[in-house]
Symmetry: C2
Subunit: 398 residues, 2 copies
């Protein structure tokens, strides 16, 4: 009575596996600044709970398998702001962006098929693909290049007869990198020439700094039939616990087939869809205000990091993450040491080791992901603690 | 750029595929009694919405990947009523019973592994297993046997080196059959002798009539390490749209591994878990009252069916379904005809063709599933319409 090979092979979350150290640090009386997870501190807009409070029903019935029409229309309107037009049947509501990735993988890949993914990448892509036996083939990107894509030839060299899709998050988790239009056009060209699907995870769209546009891949011409855009309310609307995402595609055959997966699991939670519709109906100014807040945090963190000896970081332009090279051999060991052995006036910080965001063994060992999900005051204090911690760590180990 | 073989091979829901006929019947002005889906009309207990209204938070944060401790404890208390004791780590909250089946399948089966399932079975089992490349091998049961299990030898003859588990719903969807203690002991013996997991879908537990106990498989001794119990608030608490289910198992290796799947998809919707906890905290008298209501409906439907010439039905003892043999060659054709060409004073009914609940080709062609999810008055009227419809159908075709 053995468990399946696929479940045993699955890695535990590298983001969550250090949680016991944090719990012990707190039990020891330390305050821990959590920069390790993408849980924003920004209040969920009150329209979310208001819509749920106002929802009048005596029976919490199954919703439509495709999703609540009210929510589907709100997502269509959100894209229409950028002159991107989806038909109602092009949008399928999912249990967060998570289920959207899983469903897209199932629909595009059979076991042992491959998906190209720029690394470092959102670590749960490993889970969503591995649990259904698809395989991620990494396109390595580097801190010193600002985690931008390598050349077309370098990417094409990774394509095999089993390659079915290119998957990426843009703006990028964990890198905070935003693809340039030229990069997006290159991805489109590769997909067309090699007959691949493009899965564009755009859950951080809107969080683009320095005047950059956060363009959807759907704004690129000529790829309507091969593009799958993934959406979520989690980050943009600070509603991670709502678990509302969506698959958006003009490929009617694809959406008709994924609808079978939606029908099998019946529907997504009804109330959360009602709340999510209210979020998508918020004006663009809400998204812009949130972006301004994250940009201010990014500035504080980036400036502070540049004042720490030995830290290597490119200025990230989107999302609320950055990957930094630390002046240590083993970032995970340092992160654990910060929780176990360091404090500054009773306070310490928790980062996410970046190694788990790479598929290529050995990469990212001296890197960490910083999520700037706390307010500017807390972020500034956290960077001060990081600076003092690095000095103390390297004094004690040298 | 082809879709995957597994998604193309997946069947559309046989329960939902006739929906367009019902929509046209309604557009033509007919009233349709929906006996085709398991959506109860019973009000969701107000404690569900009350708990959500009272939940005070400014940020809808990620819940724990395993689930909200409040809900886990409430489920443990629910089982403890029957002297079944789960540790907190034995319970994993899922997106409905649907995700529970999928996660159990992924954890137990690699591609091409087999799961034995008594047929007719809940048709979405096909989806949950097929989308992750596991294969259902049916154990055929018959209307004339009340859909009880065949002999141990007959079941064992279906076991191959790839057989990993036996999956069943008890009380049964679509049959309404409750396994006897002897049948449960036989399943346990087979699982032990052939080293299989037992996946017991108990989402209808509590709905057991005629004084029968709705025993959990967890009450059977000696199978703790191989038993996975699946739970849901959908049916027992009439909260289908909440999408809250659970995996319950004493096998710590299994739950620790399934927790990796839970962590990848981060969490289940926070608010719905808060509401679901309040449901599980309802006293047993609530469940007993719901059971009495369904038993009254069962009595009306069963008595009425016995007064229709040519109908074959055994008295079902649980859930809120029954599978009946109709005096027609093709139940689906009859069901469509009822929507398209029949009405009695402007009213008609919609049933689910049973063929889709069988894996063996050809079985169930003259059978339909009746869900008695409407109040006693409506169910009585629906049976009157069925009787008149069958007479008219057979007069017009003979």
């Amino acid at each position: 009575m053995k468990l399946s090979k696929r479940i045993v092979a699955m890695q535990a979350s590298p983001v969550r596996k250090l949680v016991p150290y944090a719990l012990r640090a707190k039990a020891a009386g330390k305050k821990v600044y959590h920069l390790n997870i993408g849980q924003p501190d920004i209040p969920t807009p009150p329209v979310f709970m208001d819509a749920i409070h106002d929802y009048d029903t005596t029976v919490i019935k199954y919703s439509y398998s495709q999703g609540e029409p009210l929510l589907i229309d709100a997502i269509r309107d959100y894209f229409a702001r950028d002159n991107i037009h989806f038909d109602p049947e092009d949008i399928l509501i999912t249990n967060g962006g998570s289920e959207a990735v899983t469903f897209a993988t199932i629909a595009i890949c059979d076991p042992d098929d491959e998906i190209l993914v720029p690394e470092p990448f959102y670590t749960n892509y490993n889970g969503f693909t591995g649990e259904v036996n698809a395989k991620i083939v990494p396109i390595t990107t580097k801190a010193e290049d600002g985690f931008h894509l390598p050349s077309k030839a370098a990417i094409e060299a990774l394509i095999t007869p089993r390659t079915k899709a290119i998957l990426f998050s843009n703006p990028g988790n964990p890198t905070g990198t935003i693809l340039t239009t030229a990069e997006m056009e290159m991805v489109a060209a590769i997909a067309k020439e090699h007959d691949l699907f493009i899965i564009s995870d755009e859950v951080y769209r809107g969080m683009a700094f320095d005047g950059l546009a956060a363009k959807s891949m759907a704004s690129i011409q000529g790829i309507d039939d091969r593009l799958v855009v993934l959406e979520s309310v989690s980050k943009r609307y600070s509603a991670c616990g709502a678990r509302i995402g969506a698959i958006c595609s003009h490929n009617k055959q694809l959406t008709a087939n994924i609808l079978k997966l939606c029908q099998a699991r019946l529907c997504v939670a009804t109330l959360e869809q009602i709340g999510a519709a209210a979020l998508y109906q918020l004006p663009q100014s809400y998204i812009d205000d949130v972006r301004d807040e994250y940009q201010a945090r990014r500035d504080i963190v980036y400036t502070a990091l540049n004042n720490i000896d030995g830290v290597v970081v490119e200025r990230p332009t989107g999302a609320f993450y950055m990957v930094v090279k630390l002046p240590v051999d083993d970032a995970e060991a340092f992160i654990i040491w910060m929780l176990e052995h360091f404090d500054d006036n009773g306070e310490t910080i928790m980062l996410a080791p970046a190694e788990g965001f790479y598929a290529t063994p050995g990469l990212g060992k001296d890197e960490a992901r910083i999520a700037y999900v706390l307010n500017t005051t807390d972020m500034a204090r956290a960077m001060e603690i990081l600076k003092r911690g690095l000095i103390a760590y390297n004094q004690q180990t040298n």
